[in-house]
């Protein structure tokens, strides 16, 4: 089936249908949901109820006691997570969150209003865990847990990217990401998962990265990048792997060394870290910063994340540097230390170049490469020629998690202002803590989910279009691997003519390396703007 055109997609009906929302029936229409996880992935990770099934099947082959499993799972989590118990109780349905969700804006489906997404599970909570719900039923907003409800949960909890934008506007800070995470955990208990989450998770568990790249493949990728960087700049960098005694362990999302345009950012890291002479190593065992466990269960986060500290300890590094990635940093910032710490075998990160102590990471001992680079620029340690990025008119997309989990807002902007000469912000309601998701986060970036991704990405793309039309912006920068993978098709769909790049790609372009040859191309191998002009002048 062909994908719908933008003109068709934008005919959005915001009037809710007459049908009461407590009616759980869901239509699994192609393009709006993700396929089920393959049994081999569940088996590899030791997850329950591995089987062949698809969401559009009538029979989901749930275990016979599925209902008890879900209710027990809810009870267990109500006792373990204050967030969950509280958010089940205190919503007043004021509706402030309704039009803050990119999926609601892009689909008009009322169950994509964060308040209703939460009510899907709250209604079951009321029915089985509160006196009012048991006594009054629907009057108190309670409904029975049925197979249709499970299907509805599956549809809508895999139609939330855990971006936390609604939580910014909620007067009680109710965080739909918490609800979705718990919702997915519950579904996981009866084997209702999606492959786009579990395959990367299984790969990561086994090989060390989402893509399933084995150690020799990882080595090849890095070697290839080193060769390519030499071709582009004339400078041969050294990038070691699994080297004991290095000062720093560098962990990046695997897409950085295997995806485009991530790869150019990877070249940027290599150039930068070589130029300043950082003593660092990669790890083929911890060759993934991303963590699709975040989209599966808290336990899976911990299982996948454990490698980073374990490897830092084994290699004997002093601290850890992390690349550009969104949900990776949610995990590193808000979960890693609690789950797998304390990292008492590491030291507080100190930049060997500037002497800056990153005291804000004194416990976790891991810093973001944007923090590291911003410090280098501020202390005047880099020679930069921003004119090399003149072909780009740039804007910056705050990736959800660095913005709303970390508050990493000014660092990337500071870097950008030093490496490009044309920079324009998107409208205020669409950046910083109010930033809009790419629409494909939290494991939803699959082709079969294309229509829903384009819908969810509409607000982001529309803000890009605004600066594209107004200022001629032609490059959307971001610091998230999922963004870099999913924004290009999104922009091609909604606002053709704008490309996507990481911050460190532009750093790599602008960076004047010692001993570099006359740079005629950027890291993409495309002619530098200045060179193009000269050629035009010659012609």
């Amino acid at each position: 089936m062909a994908n719908p055109s933008p003109q068709d997609l934008v005919q959005i009906e915001y009037q809710p249908a007459a049908r009461d929302w407590m009616d759980a029936a869901v239509e699994f229409r192609k393009g709006t949901f993700c396929y089920s996880a393959l049994p081999k992935n569940l088996n590899y990770l030791g997850l329950p109820n591995a089987r062949e099934w698809q969401p559009f099947d009538v029979d989901w082959k749930l275990p016979p006691n599925w209902k008890q499993i879900i209710l027990d799972g809810m009870k267990d989590r109500l006792g373990k997570y204050r967030s969950f118990r509280l958010f089940m109780d205190i919503c007043v349905r004021c509706g402030a969150c309704a039009d803050k969700c990119h999926f609601y804006i892009g689909s008009g489906d009322p169950k994509n209003m964060p308040v209703l997404r939460a009510e899907l599970i709250r209604s079951v909570y009321r029915r089985y865990f509160t006196a009012a719900g048991r006594l009054l039923g629907p009057l108190a907003g309670a409904r029975d847990l049925t197979e249709d409800v499970i299907k509805e949960w599956f549809y809508y909890f895999y139609q939330c990217t855990e971006c936390r934008r609604c939580s910014v506007y909620c007067p009680y800070g109710i965080d739909t990401a918490e609800i979705t995470m718990i919702g997915r955990e519950l579904l996981n208990l009866i084997g209702c998962n999606i492959n786009w989450v579990l395959e990367p998770a299984a790969n990561c568990f086994r090989t060390g990265n989402h893509l399933g790249i084995q150690p020799h493949g990882f080595k090849d990728s890095v070697d290839f990048a080193v060769d390519e960087l030499e071709e582009l700049t004339g400078v041969r960098v050294d990038a070691s792997i699994n080297r004991k005694g290095a000062e720093v362990l560098l962990v990046v999302p695997s897409a950085d060394y295997f995806g485009t345009p991530h790869y150019y950012t990877f070249l940027g890291y290599l150039a930068l870290l070589h130029e300043i002479g950082l003593d660092y190593t990669f790890s083929a065992y911890a060759s993934e910063g991303g963590n699709f466990g975040l989209f599966n269960s808290h336990e899976m986060i911990k299982r996948l994340n454990a490698k980073i500290y374990a490897e830092a300890k084994r290699l004997g590094v002093k601290w850890i540097l992390g690349g550009e990635c969104g949900h990776m940093w949610r995990v590193l910032h808000q979960y890693m230390d609690t789950m797998n710490g304390p990292a008492d075998f590491l030291e507080e990160p100190v930049s060997p170049v500037t002497g800056t102590h990153f005291t804000h990471a004194r416990s976790t001992k891991m810093i973001h490469i944007c923090e590291f680079t911003a410090d280098l620029i501020h202390e005047g340690k880099l020679r930069l020629d921003p004119s090399r990025n003149d072909r780009w008119n740039v804007t910056f997309h705050d990736s959800c998690n660095p913005a709303r989990a970390m508050g990493l807002i000014e660092e990337p902007r500071y870097i950008l202002r030093n490496v490009v000469r044309q920079f324009h912000e998107m409208p205020e309601n669409t950046i910083r803590e109010q930033t809009f998701c790419c629409g494909s986060g939290s494991g939803l970036g699959t082709d079969e989910n294309f229509e829903m991704r384009m819908r969810g990405g509409l607000p982001r793309a529309n803000a890009v279009r605004y600066v594209h039309d107004k200022y001629g912006v032609n490059l959307l920068t971001c610091i998230c691997a999922i963004d870099k993978a999913t924004l290009p098709p999104l922009l091609e769909y909604w606002v053709p003519g704008v490309e996507v790049a990481g911050i460190h790609e532009l750093v790599g372009n602008a960076l004047i390396l010692r001993g570099e040859k006359q740079r005629t191309t950027d890291l993409r191998g495309e002619p530098l703007a200045a060179a193009t002009e000269q050629e035009v002048a010659h012609a």
Partner: protein, 331 residues
């Protein structure tokens, strides 16, 4: 809309039943003494029970929703209130949230126009109505102290004067009386008028609004229209407060209705969404500092999980690792 009918009927029924019952000799004690005591006991116990239950559930992870620049490099100005890294900052953030509804103040409405073009426009009415309602309610509650305490506490006197600042009418009209009714009507009409809100509204949402509105209106009637014997009411209220209750004389049907509605609210509150008044203090996305990488947060139920260890990984890929020339732990 149909979800609003039953709640409205319930509220009216409570008011009418109380008004009627209060005049029946023998039942009056039930309406004026037994029910209010039972209701307030339910409120205290119920709310405590809710708060204790929330408190007993641990906060396994530090998950603030960060709404501003983190504290990182010394030359980048961090947002001390929107992304607090200290306890003081968190207190400030919570104060803003609880006293001024900071997050609701951010509200904007999005609208899709042809193009397509998404337009975001300011939407402060909900915030304004919410502020108006909650602050009025607080002031009105404090004003009621003058009925329960003798001599009248200073705060009640001051609020009384401020509230009657405009000195309009006899008796002087309280600003909060007007404001709370207007605010409640605004909050009610948006549940009817806005399709999305109508869609998500439950019977309990309407019940709370009708109940509050009925309480406000019966109170207003007693003050401005059907004068009630304030001395008798005060005598009764003090009696309740010092646990020497006596059935009030000549207070009228409106008073019985008012009292019964307040009792209903008190008893209903712990079992309803109105517990948000206690819950907002505990919200982990707001009351935790964004100091995650500075200070380790402890999860009391952190447990060991199955991982793929380095040794297992090396064993599985040994040949490939060695062929690639990468170091291994064991040959």
């Amino acid at each position: 809309m149909s979800r609003a009918v039953l709640p409205l009927a319930c509220v009216i029924a409570v008011g009418l039943a109380a008004a009627a019952a209060g005049t029946i000799h023998g039942v009056a004690a039930m309406v004026t003494i037994a029910i209010p005591y039972a209701a307030f006991a339910t409120l205290l116990l119920g709310l405590s029970w809710r708060v204790v239950r929330w408190s007993l559930a641990p906060v396994p992870f530090r998950i603030p929703t960060v709404c501003g620049q983190q504290k990182s490099l010394y030359w980048i100005k961090s947002s001390k209130l929107e992304s607090p890294s200290t306890t003081l900052g968190v207190i400030g953030r919570m104060a803003l949230e609880i006293l001024t509804f900071r997050s609701l103040f951010r509200n904007v409405h999005s609208r899709l126009e042809p193009g397509p073009r998404l337009i975001y426009r300011e939407a402060k009415w909900l915030w304004l109505a919410a502020m108006a309602f909650h602050w009025s309610l607080l002031i009105i509650l404090l004003r009621h102290l003058r009925l329960f305490v003798e001599p009248v506490p200073a705060i009640a006197v001051v609020l009384d004067r401020l509230d009657g600042f405009f000195q309009i009418g006899v008796p002087i009209v309280y600003v909060t009386d007007v404001v709370i009714v207007v605010a409640l009507l605004y909050l009610l009409q948006r549940r009817f008028r806005e399709p999305q809100l109508r869609y998500i509204s439950l019977a309990t949402d309407y019940f709370a609004l009708f109940l509050l509105l009925a309480i406000a209106l019966t109170g207003i009637v007693m003050r401005y229209l059907v004068r009630t014997d304030v001395v008798a009411v005060k005598q009764f209220a003090i009696g309740l407060a010092i646990f020497r209750p006596a059935v009030p004389q000549n207070v009228g049907a409106w008073f019985y209705a008012h009292l019964a509605l307040v009792s209903t609210l008190a008893a209903y509150l712990p079992f309803s969404k109105l517990v948000h008044m206690g819950g907002v203090f505990l919200s982990p996305t707001r009351n935790l500092a964004n100091n995650n990488r500075m200070k380790r947060h402890i999860n009391p139920w952190n447990y060991p999980v199955k991982v793929h260890t380095y040794e297992e990984w090396e064993d599985e890929f040994r040949e490939k690792i060695e062929a690639a020339g990468l170091p291994v732990e064991r040959r």
